[in-house]
């Protein structure tokens, strides 16, 4: 068995963070946070956890590392939060480095272990609070910290300037009009039925997804709009950094930009973590029990369009596909049946992964882990051998992946394990198959 000390990964953010720390400072922050921001939930979890170890097999890290016990969910909680509580925060800066590495890079907060714990312990919540403490101690991996800074400075994840955002949309609109002469990407249309929101990486380097979404909206005759002002980005890495203050700011900006346009509902692109932020974490921080503006995920939106007969395809996708169930929309929001309805509508043959639906293995990129950047890429690759096995066993080449994080993570795994597969968004497939005007 290994320990976290055996696998320390050098990271500028973590190194610089602990350089300024003393045990006294750590104690102060830990105790303040525990007293001020945690309550009965954490206390009951720590006490009621029977240390039975059943959660171990729920974790892809544990399974991928030949059942190395140091990767089991309960071990991660024991090595971090439980230790901080027991020692009342009296730990060394080096120990905080180790805890940060566990919490930020060796847990995807995917909550798969919840299906394994008889008591009902939410390890992802515990890891989130460890991240919160590390954030308050200023010990955060550099890449994801930079992303969170981008959110707090620009209200989007990718340092995209306000005019660049509008430029990107108009560029896509212009390009798309070659193919669909009537197509528009209506900006700031008050009272529209649909407010389409995306995550920062879409205008930055997956701009074709905006093109495709516009094509689908256009073909389906949707009364839609995209905002020209900050708030358009629904993503939220502050949530994963533990910077809850900025998580609240960006979620408020998102909701309010939709309210300002008096739209009927927000439809979000194929992203998982952004969805978690609007129904689970960001809304709670703001004190919204429900979402103040109805928000639906792309899967639900496409499902609706298919039910209404608004998506017309020329033929079905011929090659067999498999389906990746992203944690935040499946285990997080129960869209497994709608996802299957959509994929079966579009594709001739679906080969399911085992296990699947709410028991599917995580992509190992989510929870902000891929956002911790290149230093931790190997953590993700070695930590998800089970996903590679699961993918390989389907025997197909195409994977439908309705989530940006899953996409990035799985493409990496495909390369690392030489699987020769390829990931596709639902939007990719609809766009490929849809009826297009003859020019």
């Amino acid at each position: 068995m290994s320990t976290i000390a055996d696998r320390i990964v050098p990271d500028v953010g973590l190194e610089a963070g602990i350089a300024g720390l003393t045990t006294e400072r750590i104690q102060e922050v830990v105790n303040q946070t525990l007293k001020g921001e945690t309550g009965a939930k954490l206390k009951a979890y720590k006490e009621t956890c029977m240390r039975c170890g059943l959660c171990s097999q729920g974790c892809h890290f544990y399974m991928s590392h030949d059942q190395d016990p140091s990767y089991s969910p309960v071990s991660k909680a024991t090595e971090t939060m439980y230790e901080l509580i027991d020692k009342k925060g009296k730990v060394t800066p080096e120990r905080i480095y180790q805890m940060a590495q566990i919490a930020f890079t060796e847990c995807n907060l995917c909550k798969r272990c919840a299906h394994y714990c008889p008591v009902g312990i939410d390890i992802a919540y515990i890891m989130t609070m460890v991240r919160r403490i590390c954030y308050l101690l200023d010990v955060v991996p550099q890449y994801i910290r930079d992303t969170a800074h981008s959110h707090s400075s620009t209200m989007n994840q990718m340092w995209i300037k306000d005019d660049e955002w509008i430029d990107s949309l108009q560029w896509q609109e212009d390009e798309a009009r070659d193919e669909f002469p009537d197509l528009r990407i209506p900006l700031d249309k008050e009272g529209a039925d649909v407010y389409y929101s995306v995550i920062g990486p879409e205008p930055k380097f997956r701009t074709q997804l905006i093109y495709q979404a516009a094509a689908i909206m256009n073909a389906a005759g949707i009364d839609w709009t995209m905002p020209s002002h900050p708030g358009w980005d629904n993503s939220d890495m502050c949530m994963y950094v533990g910077d809850f203050e900025n998580m609240g700011r960006i979620k408020r900006a998102h909701y309010e930009s939709a309210q300002k346009l008096r739209v009927k509902r927000i439809v979000m692109g194929e992203c998982g973590h952004a969805f978690r932020s609007i129904y689970d974490m960001g809304n709670r921080w703001l004190g919204y029990k429900e979402m103040p503006v109805p928000v639906i995920h792309a899967i639900e939106f496409y499902w609706d369009l298919i039910q209404e007969g608004k998506i017309k395809i020329t033929h079905k996708y011929e090659k067999p596909v498999t389906i990746q169930d992203p944690c935040n929309v499946i285990r997080g929001r129960g869209l497994m049946d709608k996802l299957r309805d959509v994929v079966h509508f579009l594709c001739e043959e679906v080969v399911e992964m085992t296990p699947n639906r709410e028991h599917n293995y995580c992509c190992c990129a989510g929870g902000g882990v891929i956002n911790c950047g290149p230093p931790f890429k190997n953590t993700r690759m070695e930590g998800n051998r089970v996903k590679a096995d699961q993918l390989r066993n389907t025997g197909v080449k195409d994977i439908v992946i309705p989530c940006h994080n899953c996409h990035g993570g799985i493409e990496d795994i495909i390369g690392y394990y030489d699987l020769g597969m390829h990931g596709k968004f639902i939007g990719d497939i609809i766009y490929e198959l849809m009826e297009k005007p003859e020019l």
Partner: protein
Amino acid sequence: MTDIYTFVTGPLAWVAFGIFIIGSVYRLVSMYALAKAKDGSSLAYMSWFYGLRSILAWMVPFKSKGWQSDPLATVTTFVFHIAFLLVAVFLNAHVVLWDTAFGISIPSLPTYLGDIISILAIVCCAIFAYRRLTLPHVKGITRNQDWFALILVVLPFITGVLAYHQVGSVLVMTTLHVIFAELLIALIPFTRLSHALFILFTRAYMGSEFGGVRHANDW
């Protein structure tokens, strides 16, 4: 010796039950107060329907992923808890106590069956200990508190079985049995055994989040 026996089965029993009841009420009330003060964004989602659904789902052996993943732990957990409750309430010697102390008359287990079930409970504890000693993913997270709780639970069973089989002095063994049982009862609210108090709530909360917010099963 008889005086000691009278003392442990009389006043000391009241003390043990008193500590158990007052301690349990205190722990539950203070935990609820803390939840109200600090966990509003969690309490708001508590749901009777989904909470109970989750509790019931996890009471079915091998239904959940967790129960499926480790058959030995699953069988041991179920057998142990059922055995514990059966012996604590329905063992014939205990049924006599219910009657003499409180005038409550309930059916009792046949003597031989009570003996078998008690031995089964000890075997289960041995399996729990085996897991803690040998399985790496359990060994690494086991602390003194976990051992303390296990020993606390097994002692009344061991002394009870020895007393029944008249190993050593019956009076001494029975007295020890009563003392250990009282210690167990009194310490439930203050040790790892407090899961007996809190598990319904942690389970119900996870069930509420999964059912009500996440629209997925939590098993």
